[in-house]
């Protein structure tokens, strides 16, 4: 379990992470979603004790990361694929990490097999593709068989097969009862991987909710209506108390499903050219959520207090 309490990080007068309160629970994949620069990586670095919080605290399994007697056995992390010396082989990289935490050397071979790097383990990591580097980083994260796994942008640079593999791995780790915390700036990827969603924008938590709940709350749908006599149809629907929006030569109707709209219009004898249920994508929902935070920030910083709670 990872717990953050009023976690704050300022760089000079720029606030990168602004009073985060969240808990990442075991047994599920928690997605950490936000646009680039939202504070995801800074938060993850504070979880690992690499950046010192300006105020507030974050604990892993109830204690500060630095207080763990063998941290790699408590939490495994993929921070970024570049945190590896390019002149050192994949096997040697894992060997020193294992040695540093008293992890038996046979684990090195096991995790190399697990991530599919066993045949190139003797090669220098600098020769690896971005995807192979990510796999090595994931191997390093799993080295200590930790109950908490943190993956910062794990699918970056992976091919489609690799992306599926990470998705499957995250799911399996969560099913084994581990705490899995995965960051991404891609909503579509999160929708496929995560059970729970933590959305961050401008250093603040914008949503802390189950994926299912997020979908119903934020992925809005509407009915698109096209008709030769559009103004008359609009008047009719307006009188029925529906929300209307005129977009080009169509009406976007919310508050009633397609069948309901069709019956209402049909009863009055209007002709329709189109009647379509449009479900806005998760990507749209995410964009809307984070764009709002940016807008509030620009025009009225004070109002954000309520919006981010």
């Amino acid at each position: 379990m990872i717990q953050a309490r009023a976690l704050t990080k300022r760089f000079g007068d720029k606030t990168a992470v602004d009073g985060l309160d969240f808990t990442v629970e075991p047994g599920r994949v928690t997605g950490f979603l936000g646009p680039n620069g939202a504070g995801k990586s800074t938060t993850m670095r504070m979880v690992l004790g690499l950046d010192r919080p300006t105020s507030g605290s974050v604990t892993v399994n109830g204690r500060a990361y630095a207080d763990s007697p063998a941290p790699l056995r408590q939490i495994g992390a993929l921070l970024d694929a570049h945190a590896i010396h390019p002149g050192r082989s994949a096997r040697d990289h894992l060997r020193w990490m294992a040695a540093s935490n008293g992890i038996p050397t046979h684990r090195v071979g096991e995790v190399l097999d697990l991530v599919g790097l066993d045949t190139v383990a003797g090669q220098r990591a600098g020769r690896f593709s971005l995807g192979m580097g990510q796999r090595l980083g994931i191997a390093a994260a799993l080295l200590g068989d930790p109950p908490v796994v943190v993956l910062d942008e794990p699918v970056n640079g992976l091919d489609p097969e690799g992306i599926r593999w990470v998705r499957h791995l995250a799911r399996q780790l969560a099913d084994e009862g581990r705490t899995v915390f995965v960051s991404s700036h891609l909503m579509s990827e999160m929708a496929l991987m995560a059970d729970h969603l933590l959305v961050i924008g401008r250093g603040r938590i914008l949503a802390d909710t189950s994926m299912q709940r997020f979908l119903t709350d934020h992925a809005t749908s509407f009915v698109r209506v096209k008709a030769p006599g559009l103004p008359a149809v609009a008047t009719l629907l307006d009188r029925a108390g529906l929300d209307l929006e005129r977009v080009d030569d169509a009406l976007h109707v919310t508050g009633l499903d397609a069948a309901g709209v069709g019956e209402l219009v049909g009863r009055e004898g209007h002709v329709l050219h189109e009647l379509t249920l449009v479900q806005s994508s998760l990507e749209d929902a995410f964009m809307r959520l984070t764009a709002d935070s940016v807008e509030y920030r620009t025009h009225a910083p004070a109002e954000l207090e309520g919006a981010s709670a």
Binding site: S68, R73, A83, H85, R95, W96, S100, W165, E176
Partner: protein, 269 residues
Amino acid sequence: MTTLTRPAAPADTSARAGFPQAVRAEWLKLWSVRSTWWTVAATIGLGGFMTILICALNAEWLASADADEAPATFLTWGLMLAQICAVVLGALVVTGEYSTGMVRTSFAAVPSRGRVMAAKSVVLSGVLLVLGVVVALIGYAGGNWFFEREGIGVPLEGDMLRAVLGSGLFLAGIGLFTVAVGFILRHTAGTISAVLALMLIVGNMVSLLPGATGEWLTKLMPGNAGSGIAQAIAWNPDLLSPWAGFGVFVLETSALMALAWMVVRRRDA
């Protein structure tokens, strides 16, 4: 592809990321990059075999009546080159991690930054201690072979023995000095330039300052104070005695390491 991980076991409390583990990790890190092997080879080649060459070329002159220098001075000649190799190695073990971002992995694996710095220092100084003695012995044994043929051999005792062992001490010290600078500057070229400039250039320039100030600053500069221990006969007789000078150098290195520790433990990695 299989993804057979084992179920999350309760964290093994017997395992520790303590100091012995950190030392073992640093040992593995040091010898798993090629630059270490190159630098060690260069130290032996430049420090040891260049000494033999210089001694071979000068043996006849040193044995002649024209000679105004002692043979023992030539037997430690390679120190000038070996110290540069020690600086390079000291810089690489630290700044190599900062330039690649690997230092974040290091601090994540061993969260106590003082422990990482101490483990690095122990491993590097141990290696340089042995290397310094080996290089000095190679230079002595080879160089003295030519001297003995001219009848001017120097026995391995007294100041000569102290210089051979002192070569290990000086290289270890200069390595640690560079490690401290590396942790502060985090940049390979900057660290190597700063240490070499301080030892080789500033160390000589301060003697241009007038009066007792220049005299004492020259004596106290780290390269001048520390290198005497590795010379059988002092190259510059105005400097501190070998052990007093080395004591000053150890104090300077310790102070710099303490400063580095204060900087590193506060800084975001």
